[in-house]
Amino acid sequence: MPEKSIREMNDFERLQNSLSARTFHAIIIICVVLSLAAVLFGFYLYTNSVRNQYTEKAEDAAKTIAGIVDGDEVGKYVDAVTETYLGLSEDVRQKPDSDEYAKAFESIADERFYEITELLKKIADANGLSTAYIGFLDPTGKKFIIVLNSDPSGDFKGSGHAVDVDKNVLTEISKNLSVIPALISKNDNGYFSLGNAPVYDSHKNVAGYAVTGISMQTVADMSRSFLIQYVIVLAVVTILMAVLMTLHLKRKLVKPVNQIADAAQNYVKDKRAGIISTDHFSKLNIKTGDEIENLALIMADMERDISEIENNLTSVTAEKERIGTELSLATRIQADMLPNIYPAFPDRSEFDIYATMTPAKEVGGDFYDFFLVDHDTLGIVMADVSGKGVPAALFMMVSKIMIKNHGMNGISPKTVLEKVNEQICSNNREEMFITVWYGILDLATGHLRASNAGHEYPVVMQNGNKFELLKDKHGFVIGGMSGVKYREYEIDLTPGSKLFLYTDGVPEATNEKMELYGTDRMLDALNTAVNGSPYEVLNAVQNSVDSFVNGAPQFDDLTMLCLEFKGGGKKTMKEITVDASVENIEAVTDFINAELEAIDCPMKAQTQIDIAIDELFGNIAQYAYSPGKGEATVRYELEMDPRRVIITFMDKGKKYNPLEKEDPDTSLSAEEREIGGLGVFLVKKTMDDMTYEYSDGYNILKIFKNI
């Protein structure tokens, strides 16, 4: 196993570690081992058979010689040589190569002696013997004495020469056996195969021994060349097999494996490039019929399955992304729904306002709102819809629009809440509800009218004191029950006063120890910024909540609003309360005219206003308390920028909304025309706006005239 991973290798290392290379190596090793075994075994068999063949041949030759020669003659020469040999002095006997030694035996050789020698030579030549001789065993048993030699000049010399015979040969011969096994013997001249056969005389006595020798040198040479050829053939066969096997392997295994690897690589590349449907594995055409083909088929299946899964996943992801996008769009719409550009009223010096909403989820159920009902009235809303997320946000949208729509009519806070409650209760199957604090602030006077539908206590800072909870009377939540009545309360904000509104997300902010932030901490935080701007006040609370929560997840929306009333509004307001009688029309007209003249009201507008007073106060005087009597209040208000006169008629008479009356048909002839309805119609036509509200038993009718 390579220590490096294949990705860390260079090309050469990869080649070295490739399947082909490894197979090649393995085949070479196996072949070499097999070849070695074959060579050794073959060589052993070969040499064995050759040796047997040679020893047999040597033995046959020895037997032939023993059979051909005349035993009696041999016996005669043996006896002569023995006699001569024994007669040699010890000195001469030790020097067989000396002339003296040779001379001692010369006399023995007669004509016949040479004939036999010649015979031996012929037999030796015919049988490829390197030596053939007849001799006897030295009576001492240690030496073999040559008597007749095929080659007297050769190694074994002539008669009388004693040779050191192989001990084994001597042993065999000394046993006086009739058949002596051939032997392989080694002397200084190399290996010889020695054959032996006893020569018998006419009395069947052993006259001597015929000994033949075949040099084994050729055999050794043949074995060597056999070995070399054998090894060469095996090497060639081995390499050929290794190459063939490698090629076969390459075709059957390596090439398809590489194809699969390439396909996998391209597959990965495509996946990284974001291509979903691919056919890298499917288009592979691997027909090896083995595990590789199976692997390719499995990979193709896998590719198809993954593509399928990815397609599903893509559509699921796309859907999820779409929802995410829509949700963030919803969040933005929701955020945009709330007034969030500050300063909200840059041209107004009477007040400063700042508010924030931090939803716990993408979209929240909290909301705040503030809007100018008219030039001098600011509507302020702080609300919390039950639940969170999209449902709460939807409900919040509806509620916000309803509250503002009703609020913009200039009607009292409690009426706004009652109307919104009725509207929501009329169709609220999901039983959602909402807590609302709604107030309207007279920017000229600091007079605040507010109504609380189950919402948190507002916090007020008055006259440079501390922020304190204003424990107002709570009504029931909006959407909880139809027909609920709400209470209203009024406070007068002095210049410099602040109003802080919030949702339960602030006091119920929770830290990791599951402790609640609480209103006490909130008041403390508020009081650290008691003299700060609304922005600073909210920041102080936000920072305090953040450090308290210390990274714990936000469970509820966090919504806050702070209003600072600065006062100094330019609005003027006067009112007159008189008996509601026709006689007082003039007094009321005079009261209003005095104001209008003071502001240099154009004559035409003044006349129109006078007519309006005549019509509206006249109606009150004639019908409101009829047949009894009662009082009516007429309030004059002047707004600046743009200049607008607001005249409010209030009476506690019969509830009557003149705006509900249908306009007369002004196209009819005198005979068809009916008396009545003209007055209000006339006022509607000449005034810029006109509102009616019935609140606390008062008919409140307002007319607005831009001047």
Partner: protein, 98 residues
């Protein structure tokens, strides 16, 4: 409001000065009722009339209906304010304004 009457045979000219509104309309109506007998040509001079409210319109309408039966009624000297009221209320189509 001051009402000045001038009877010339069957032609009655009424000059109004001031305002014809809820307060003064009853008086105007009473004056007319008392003077219309035998009159077939009624001229209402509004030259000095500051304005008119619906109470005045009511009187004008009922008087116009009466005069339609016996003769004619003409309104003269209508100022801008009053004319606007007539226009808005459709009275300019009913009345004969000169």
């Amino acid at each position: 409001m001051t009402i000045t009457k001038k009877l010339d045979g069957s032609k009655l000219t009424c000059s109004l000065e001031g305002r014809l509104d809820t307060t003064t309309a009853p008086e105007f109506e009473a004056t007319l009722n008392a003077s219309l007998l035998g009159v077939d040509d009624l001229v209402l001079d509004f030259s000095n009339l500051e304005y008119i409210s619906s109470a005045g319109l009511r009187v004008l309408l009922s008087t116009q209906k009466k005069m339609n039966k016996v003769g004619k009624m003409t309104v003269t000297g209508v100022n801008e304010t009053v004319n606007e009221v007539f226009e808005v209320t459709g009275f300019s189509d009913i009345l004969t304004i000169e």
